[in-house]
């Protein structure tokens, strides 16, 4: 509460810079921060990735365990996506049960993966109605400097791409790898005083009226959208953001996800 005045100062700072055609870190409006992606870095996880988006750092671990299927889908494995905003990552994060921010983060990443059919859940069935693979995707935020969704979504798909199925741990035989059918990429943009800015920093997120995450697939189709923020948006702005999101996703995919599998 006591820092409210500082919030306003920061918001004004961001707005003033934008009105002069500049961003706080000198980037172009449609430019991402430097992205680095490291795969397979945690050997206890069946798949993992660490994404750095400028100073934002997110770790994603995939674990596979044997469990029971849901009664209404006995021939399908289960995908569970979870996000933890641990207090280590930001002065604004508090320990405790998941709040609406972490739930939204997890659900948006999950939606992108489901919408594009990245994982064939039928392939995760071991024994119909009895045994299936439960695939946990855990998003662990290490340093929040804005745009967690894009970092987490990139980490999630990268972690899925290098999964090793722990068959021997459960006395099973089967494929060692998991087929990953698509490469959804999330691109988040904010609208600040009518200007669209890609890959927002924390200050830009706070100064923004609205935020839109556009998740698109290799064929350019959409697999998820989520608007955040307490302001209205014009149709033209949304359509422009969707176009821009698809374009930017293509660039990221080209650079980080088109690996021979």
């Amino acid at each position: 509460m006591g820092l409210e005045i500082m919030d306003d100062v920061r918001k004004d700072f961001v707005r003033n810079m934008l009105s002069e055609g500049d961003r706080e870190d000198g980037r172009g409006f449609r430019e991402y921060r430097e992205i680095s992606l490291k795969r397979d870095i945690m050997n206890k996880a069946e798949g993992s990735a660490c994404v750095k988006l400028g100073d934002t750092e997110v770790l994603v671990g995939a674990k596979l365990e044997v469990g029971s299927p849901f009664p209404d889908s006995p021939t399908e494995g289960v995908l569970i996506t979870n996000a933890e905003l641990v207090p280590l990552a930001s002065p604004e994060f508090e320990s405790g049960p998941p709040n609406e921010k972490s739930i939204q983060l997890a659900r948006v990443v999950d939606r992108g993966i489901r919408g594009s059919g990245v994982i064939d859940l039928g392939k995760l069935c071991i024994e119909e109605g009895e045994k299936v693979w439960i695939l946990f995707l855990d998003i662990h935020v290490l340093d929040n400097n804005g745009n967690l969704v894009d970092a987490a979504a990139l980490g999630a798909i990268a972690a899925l791409q290098n999964i090793r199925v722990p068959n021997e741990k459960y006395g099973l035989t089967g494929e060692e790898t998991l087929q990953v059918h698509d490469t959804p990429v999330a691109v988040t943009m904010v609208e600040i005083d009518g200007t669209i800015v890609v890959d927002p920093t924390c200050n830009e997120e706070n100064a923004a009226t609205n935020r839109l995450t556009v998740i698109s697939n290799a064929d350019g189709s959409l697999s998820g959208l989520q608007k955040t923020g307490s302001y209205g948006m014009k149709e033209e702005t949304i359509v422009e953001m969707v176009e821009l999101g698809i374009e930017k996703a293509g660039e990221i995919r080209e650079k980080f996800l088109n690996v021979p599998s």
């Binding site: 998941p98 609406e100 489901r114 998820g224 608007k227 209205g232 359509v239």
Partner: protein
């Protein structure tokens, strides 16, 4: 989304429930249905039955969550355990937490929150019977309940979902279409200003399908707005005539 090859979603240009592609389900709106709440609304959308109540503006608890500049809107979307086929465990789950957030943000833009610093405006939505599209019904009901409570607002918010089933972009998905269709995109908007206040999408759509769906949803919100407006005017007229009688004129 689940794949279901067997269902024939579109037959002779009609959908499984006989509607055309751009047709809403039946909507019924009752205003001021609850005595204790400051404002309330009962909203039916096809087989969805939704109740919204508004309390406040009143003091915000906990106090550390107060905003010194404007009222905080609290929105709770809750499903009754008997509202779905398989009993829903009572209490908030991840889905309802996300829907509550999105719904709150859909309404925030129209509420003149700066009139009531440090206060809370509480919106409670109960899904009594669910048949796809509950979040949109909840937003529609909440918007009317806010107006019924006399909360100062710039305008009403109207909400509807569009989706893709059997390769077609259709309006206001029913439960079968939602469960087995290819995409679902709920939106909320301030109809008179063509301003979108909520947008979500899951499933799979091409960019052109998205734009077509957005247009379809925006058009339908205009229809819903008219129904909301009519329901509120009906309530206001009733109140007025009663008052006139009291004063003997």
């Amino acid at each position: 989304m689940k794949k279901e090859g067997e269902i024939e979603f579109i037959k002779d240009g009609k959908r499984v429930d006989g509607r055309s592609f751009d047709e809403l389900r039946n909507i019924k709106i009752d205003v001021g249905v609850l005595k204790r709440a400051d404002g309330s609304c009962y909203f039916e959308l096809g087989n969805n039955k939704v109740l919204a109540a508004v309390y406040g503006p009143r003091e915000m608890h906990p106090r550390h969550a107060q905003d010194a500049k404007m009222a905080v809107v609290k929105f709770r979307y809750n499903m009754a355990p008997f509202s779905v086929d398989d009993r829903k465990r009572p209490g908030p789950d991840r889905r309802s937490v996300e829907i509550s957030k999105v719904s709150r943000e859909a309404l925030d833009p129209v509420i003149l929150r700066e009139y009531y610093p440090k206060a809370a405006i509480e919106v409670y939505v109960e899904i009594l019977q669910s048949d796809a599209g509950t979040r949109t019904a909840g937003i529609n009901a909440a918007s009317v309940a806010l107006a019924d409570a006399g909360v100062p607002m710039r305008d009403l918010v109207s909400s509807v979902a569009v989706g893709k089933v059997g390769g077609e972009i259709v309006l206001d998905l029913n439960a079968v279409e939602d469960n087995y269709g290819e995409a679902d995109m709920p939106i909320a908007m301030i109809a008179r200003r063509n301003t979108i206040t909520a947008l979500q999408m899951d499933g799979n759509l091409t960019k052109d399908e998205f734009e077509k769906g957005l247009k379809l949803a925006m058009k339908a919100c205009q229809q819903i707005y008219e129904l909301q407006r009519t329901a509120l005017i009906g309530r206001y007229n009733k109140g007025e005539s009663a008052k006139l009688k009291d004063s003997g004129t």
